[in-house]
């Protein structure tokens, strides 16, 4: 019973926080105190759930349709995602205080309110006990992040918002919803069940189509050709980009993919029928193509965006390799990539606040005036690339191990090639920052300082986190094997 | 119209007959051909004839607009009231059998009153229509009352059949 209440509270805390934030709108200090307080409370709540996780508890919120409840459950993969998202929310909140104040942004209350709502939605996605609940919170997440993307209110922001909303709603309605109803029609229920619910219920000939509907339908996983929303959403303020890319949105996407692969299709069922083949290649193509596009981008945030597209497809690819090792790798990649990417976005934001520079070619030599930021960025890059001593190493390791044990040598090659590409497009940034001579005149470069303290603190914390994960990967691994073996 | 002496004289002698005939049709509607519709139209046309010959202003002195409004409403109320009355007396809606001592007497009373309601409404709606169209030039703007009164009589027809 206690766990049930705790489950419902994970949704309610951020929602209640949103109300308080709105109420405290006129006093910025109080408002931001509430934001941070709520985020800490939420994190503790999720940790409490993590402690409880012996045996799955289910809490029903409502039953909109007969036999189709809106319910939450404590399930390892979901808890992992919830922990990552709620933990990073604390840091993002701290960071955004620095960023928003530093930039004197408009409508800050609206920003914090929708931020809290989207975290509530992300919690819902993470803890959903069936596909229907997942879908519902997925849509709430889309809608609640829209005002964040268009935050600036300029024509450019509105345009980006349209693309964002358009692609996400279009894919989720046209593909995801159809796949959902189809599954319901075939299996008779939508509950996430270890080993999948579709086995023997559906004609294997149609299975690849259903897989494709789910994978393309979950537009937040940014599989090509439905990745355009991610770069378009770059118009958002940096904390939002961090939220979108690392914490809530894209992770909710790949998390959904992973969850559906494991609990709806079932790894064994997919492997037996071979329905994963097509989408495996699509994911592999996205990995490579997005990395190539990233190489050509000079805008830092755009480059990071395409890097995200590529990295997300690692996870989809891991899911589509359909064996337990690869799925564990994919699950770990959710966490490690989240840490790595959020660090990089924080750095990009810090650079913008301090220098108002957005193009990589303009950032030569900044490492000297912003050493902490650039050190963090170096760690972030290494983690994304997957070098030892950073968390990224483990996830990539397991992913490649999975590819090998599935005897998909081509996929192994894809991982290796993309790692090289990662090096090419990411390492340039810290290298230019540290080793290249500053472009601008010494006078102005002296004026450049580190970004406001909250921002720097936040990015330092996440960078340290990248390293910590390398040494404490054990709990993560245990949690995930529990899931993949059922 | 002062000089149309023939028209005035003929109309003067005819109008009472027309009105009387309307009443005849009204009260013989229960067993013979006739009934509230026909009676109402005949009654209405008698008054309209008067208005055509002697002018709208004179007619309005005889039958002011307000009376016409109220009468149309009362006609419908009479009709629907009988229905409710039969409900109260323990029958179904518009089941006249319960209105009198015996079912036959009840039917007689019921159809009489219903037809009266219909007749009153139809007659005054016709006049009210004439008033508003004929008076349009003088007032320059409408009195849209006419429009909706019309629907009322279509209702009655509905329950009539």
């Amino acid at each position: 019973m206690e766990t049930q209440i705790a489950l419902i509270l994970t949704i309610l805390i951020p929602l209640f926080g949103a109300v308080l934030i709105a109420a405290a709108g006129s006093q910025p200090n109080l408002r931001e105190a509430v934001t941070i307080g709520t985020s800490v409370l939420l994190f503790l709540q999720v940790l409490f759930l993590l402690e409880q996780s012996d045996g799955q508890a289910v809490a029903v919120l409502a039953t909109p349709f007969p036999g189709l409840p809106l319910s939450l459950s404590t399930e390892p993969l979901g808890l992992l995602f919830a922990t990552v998202a709620s933990g990073l929310w604390i840091i993002t909140s701290i960071y955004s205080i620095g960023y928003m104040r530093g930039n004197n942004e408009q409508h800050q209350t609206r920003f914090y309110v929708f931020f809290a709502i989207s975290i509530a939605a992300a919690m819902g996605v993470a803890l959903s006990a069936n596909v229907f609940t997942l879908f519902v919170f997925y849509e709430v997440l889309t809608l609640s992040t829209y005002p964040l993307v268009t935050h600036k209110g300029t024509d450019e922001a509105r345009q980006g918002g349209r693309v964002y909303l358009g692609i996400l709603l279009a894919t989720s309605f046209s593909f995801f919803l159809v796949a959902l109803v189809w599954t319901w029609n075939a299996a008779g229920h939508l509950d996430f069940t270890a080993g999948g619910i579709l086995k023997g219920k559906i004609d294997p000939a149609f299975l690849p189509l259903l897989v494709a509907l789910y994978l393309f339908g979950i537009g937040k996983a940014a599989l090509m050709p439905f990745h355009r929303w991610l770069p378009a959403a770059m118009v958002a303020p940096t904390p939002v980009s961090a939220l979108l890319h690392a914490v809530a949105v894209v992770k909710a996407g790949v998390f959904s993919v992973l969850k559906i692969t494991v609990y709806v299709f079932g790894i064994d069922f997919l492997r037996e029928t071979g329905a994963n083949r097509w989408m495996m290649w699509v994911a592999a193509a996205t990995v490579i193509l997005a990395s190539l596009v990233a190489l050509t981008k000079d805008n830092l945030k755009a480059r990071l965006a395409y890097s995200t597209v590529s990295q997300l497809s690692y996870i989809v690819l891991g899911a589509m390799l359909v064996n337990s090792v690869a799925v564990v790798g994919a699950g770990m990649h959710i966490a490690t990539h989240a840490l790595g990417k959020i660090t990089l976005f924080f750095c990009a934001g810090a650079i913008y606040v301090a220098t108002h520079k957005t193009e990589i070619s303009d950032m030569d030599g900044l490492g000297r005036s912003m050493p902490i930021t650039y050190a963090a960025m170096l760690i972030g890059c290494l983690s994304i690339i997957g070098l030892p001593l950073t968390g990224g190493f483990w996830s990539k390791w397991y992913l490649m191990l999975g590819a090998a044990s599935a005897e998909q040598w081509a996929m192994l090659a894809v991982f290796l090639i993309s790692t090289l590409l990662n090096v090419a497009y990411l390492m340039v940034i810290p290298i230019r920052g540290f080793l290249f001579p500053p472009r601008s005149t010494p006078a102005t470069s002296n004026a450049i300082r580190e970004a406001p303290f909250p921002s720097v603190a936040a990015l330092a914390v996440t960078a340290v986190g990248c390293i910590v994960v390398f040494f404490y990967a054990q709990p993560l691994y245990r949690l995930l094997t529990e899931m993949s073996t059922g | 119209m002062e000089h149309h002496i023939v028209l005035r004289v003929v109309a003067k002698s005819f109008i009472p007959v027309i009105l009387l005939f309307a009443l005849y049709v009204q009260f013989h509607g229960d067993y013979g051909p006739g009934g509230g519709f026909q009676a109402g139209v005949i009654f209405g046309s008698g008054i309209i004839l008067y208005a055509l010959i002697f002018g709208l202003q004179t007619t309005k002195k005889v039958l002011p607009q307000s009376i016409i409004h109220h009468m149309t409403g009362i006609g419908v109320l009479l009709y629907a009231g009988i229905g409710v009355l039969s409900l109260i007396r323990g029958g179904n809606f518009l089941d006249y059998s319960v209105l009198g001592a015996t079912p036959a007497a009840g039917q007689h009373i019921g159809i009489m009153l219903i037809e009266l309601g219909v007749g009153v409404t139809v007659a005054f709606v016709m006049v009210s229509l004439f008033y508003s169209f004929a008076g349009y030039r003088q007032k320059d703007l409408d009195d849209p009352a006419a429009e909706d009164d019309d629907e009322q009589d279509s209702i009655e027809k509905s329950d009539q059949q």
Partner: protein, 117 residues
């Protein structure tokens, strides 16, 4: 012979098409109402003519008559006529107000003044 024998339907048909044609073609609102009336009248005739029973007399109880025409269609059509009158009256009332607002009862002139998209 059958086709001529069913002449009442031909009349109904002719009137109906005439009425619809007037409604569609004329731009004068009053003429539209007239067309609508003709159209409705055709249906009245349809009803009344099907109520006729060959050799039957008016449905009034009287000595020496066995076959009566069916009175129900007449009753129905009485209702429909009243509805028609109400429609005409309302239509004319609307036209009166349109005339006072636009100064015309011609559809084309009205839409010139005030395009309804």
């Amino acid at each position: 012979m059958t086709y001529i024998g069913l002449y009442n339907y031909w009349i109904v048909f002719l009137l109906m098409m005439t009425g619809l044609y007037v409604v569609i073609v004329s731009t004068n609102l009053i003429k539209k109402i007239i067309g609508l009336n003709i159209f409705q009248t055709s249906v009245f005739i349809l009803y009344i003519s099907i109520g006729k029973v060959a050799g039957g007399t008016a449905p009034i109880l009287a000595e020496g008559y066995k076959i009566y025409s069916n009175p129900l269609p007449h009753v129905l059509i009485l209702t429909a006529i009243v509805v028609g009158v109400a429609t005409t009256a309302l239509g004319l009332a609307l036209i009166v107000r349109i005339h006072s607002e636009y100064g015309s009862v011609d559809e084309e002139k009205i839409y010139q003044n005030d395009p309804v998209d």
